[in-house]
């Protein structure tokens, strides 16, 4: 493969600087020994990381986000995999409509969704409940999973399944023993991406949480609307590291480049 020229590398360096700057600044701020926001930090201190431990609310919200992410991503995966199998490999009336429906959370403005969810959930008495949150998040993250699973389904060699069928396997056996293992990287990649999306969701969630189900981003948002201190930065840093760690998992399991290219397949 041809190498990039010096101009391209300069462009790339500026691009990286642009992309990384806000995150680097946040990490920098989190290291301040002072009681207020300061960049560059006048010294290096882990004081604000220790402070996280003194704020059980944040830790609790972190756990909520974690559980919520796992529950929503799992629910959404369970629903998206069969849908992807149908949409990815069959032509049937209504297919495009279904696909558009499942992709719609990407096009409907999030604020509209948040309000719609809030009104609907309080009507049916699920407002602020973990179940309500899980359902809403499952809706929001479905497009992410569906895209990845669809990509692996469409890339799948159907004859492999026919081969299994010709050897006597029932439909369910084909799914369990052949199809699912083969699309597994897409499913896992989609799950992780969906998990991260749920874990970081704010705009919708802020409308539908209650104190016992407050998620970390909402907690952070509430915190910075009331006070801004380096604690936000240190918690953000932890979130950044956690997310980066998860992305390494994707890279290992699925390949970030496949995640991107695959993600484009409709």
């Amino acid at each position: 493969m041809t190498r990039n020229g010096p101009f391209a590398l300069l462009f790339n360096a500026l691009f990286v600087l642009f992309m990384a700057a806000p995150l680097v600044v946040v990490i920098g701020v989190s290291l301040t020994p002072e009681g207020f926001l300061e960049f560059p930090p006048s010294g290096i201190s882990l004081r604000w990381f220790r402070a996280i431990l003194d704020n059980p609310d944040f830790i609790e919200a972190g756990w909520t986000s974690l559980y919520l992410g796992v529950a929503a991503a799992s629910l959404s995966t369970a629903l998206a995999v069969p849908a992807a199998l149908a949409i990815g490999r069959r032509r049937f009336p209504g297919r495009d409509l279904l696909l558009a429906t499942f992709m719609s959370p990407l096009t409907v403005p999030t604020i509209v969704l948040g309000i719609a969810f809030l009104r609907f959930l309080s009507q049916i008495g699920l407002s602020g409940t973990f179940l309500g949150l899980t359902l809403c998040h499952a809706v929001i993250i479905t497009p992410f999973i569906l895209r990845l699973v669809l990509a692996s389904v469409t890339g799948l060699d159907r004859t492999v399944e026919k081969a299994a069928e010709s050897l006597g396997a029932s439909d369910f056996t084909v799914f369990r023993r052949i199809t699912l293992p083969m699309i597994m990287p897409g499913v896992v990649g989609g799950w992780v991406l969906a998990f991260i999306t749920s874990f970081d969701e704010l705009t919708v969630t802020v409308f539908i949480v209650n104190p016992s189900t407050t998620t970390l981003p909402v907690r952070l948002f509430n915190h910075i609307t009331q006070t801004t201190d380096p604690l936000v930065a240190s918690i953000s840093t932890v979130v950044i590291l956690f997310t980066v760690g998860l992305m390494f998992v994707i890279e290992r399991l699925y390949g970030l480049d496949r995640l991107l290219v695959g993600g484009e397949a409709r």
Binding site: N210, H223, T225, Q226
Partner: protein, 321 residues
């Protein structure tokens, strides 16, 4: 076990509630208290969203939004609040459905260090907001926020108008004040961030907020304008259709107890509304005692509230341009 859900401010108020105010109540009444943090408007919106199925049993709001909550029928009458007779009349809000639990003064917050560097005198008059030397160094909360509304009303009053004749207020805001304003910042967190980043030197803010920021070691100070600081009340009400109405009433009453009022004063800088509260020397600077309370300027919510939507529209169209 019964669960009582209380809506109120986030930040230091939330911390205080959760750590020091709620636990004794839980023990005494054998309930679990959940706290829903949010600013006044958010919690008011929450009340409206859940009109048919209220999640909150008690809500704590600024006085302005509280008037609206009462008007919209979200608040239940205070039927079992034995401390009512001990409360200043001004805190009774002319209704039996909500009660003030603390006084806050709306006045100046300023960065004392920056003022010293530049050799400026501390702000002393509401009209200082129009001083060109503060170009892009000011922040005022928008009209949706009580502090912003107070600013508008004060500008009207000092320029020949009043709540009933708001035009001079808007004119002054648009022509003289708005150009100095870097941002109309509603969020207290952002406001402290603006101070900390030295983006602003001066703002209109609550005495309680200033105290909270000053407590972090930041050189911010509160100043009472010579024309008077505006009284802002923090108010509480029991929410209608509560499934634990007795506990809700008891909680409002609890907030009015002198020992709780003292804690609110010590941590959040709320001036007590219960006459029986005694504050230690260090807290005497708060809006405290009949003398100081009577010196605070009050605004007329009964005039303001019906006009508020119209003013909000004008503010958005004229001031925030």
């Amino acid at each position: 076990q019964k669960v009582l859900t209380v809506g109120g401010y986030g930040g230091s108020f939330e911390t205080l509630m959760k750590e020091h105010i709620i636990p004794p109540f839980e023990k005494a009444h054998n309930v679990t208290v959940q706290f829903v943090p949010g600013n006044s408007t958010e919690n008011l919106a929450r009340l409206q969203a859940q009109k048919d199925n209220q999640e909150m049993d008690v809500v704590i709001l600024d006085d302005g939004p509280m008037y609206q909550a009462v008007a919209l029928g979200f608040c239940a009458p205070l039927t079992k609040v034995p401390s009512l007779p001990d409360i200043y009349d001004i805190a009774k809000m002319g209704t039996d459905k909500a009660i003030g639990i603390g006084f806050v003064a709306t006045g100046f917050a300023y960065n004392a260090e920056m003022f010293k560097e530049k050799g400026w005198a501390p702000p002393s008059s509401w009209m200082d907001l129009a001083d060109p030397k503060f170009d892009q160094l000011e922040s005022i909360p928008p009209i949706s926020n009580t502090y912003g509304l107070h600013t508008l009303v004060m500008m009207a009053r000092l320029n020949g108008g009043s709540e009933t004749d708001i035009d001079p207020g808007f004119k002054t805001m648009v022509d003289k004040v708005a150009p100095n304003v870097l941002v109309f910042e509603p969020s207290s967190g952002k406001m402290s961030e603006l101070f900390q980043n030295k983006e602003i030197a001066l703002s209109i803010w609550g005495s309680g907020r200033v105290k909270a920021l000053a407590d972090t070691g930041f050189p911010v100070k509160f100043a009472y304008p010579k024309e008077g600081a505006v009284a802002l009340m923090v108010a509480a009400c029991p929410v209608t259709h509560s499934d634990v109405p007795d506990e809700a009433q008891a909680f409002v009453d609890y907030l009015l107890q002198p020992e709780v009022q003292e804690k609110l004063a010590a941590t959040n800088g709320f001036g007590p509304t219960n006459k029986k509260t005694v504050l230690p020397e260090a807290l005497q600077s708060l809006p405290y005692g009949p003398d100081k309370i009577s010196k605070l300027v009050a605004v007329d919510w009964n005039v303001i509230n019906p006009k508020r939507e119209e003013w909000t529209q004008r503010w958005a169209r004229e001031v925030e341009r």
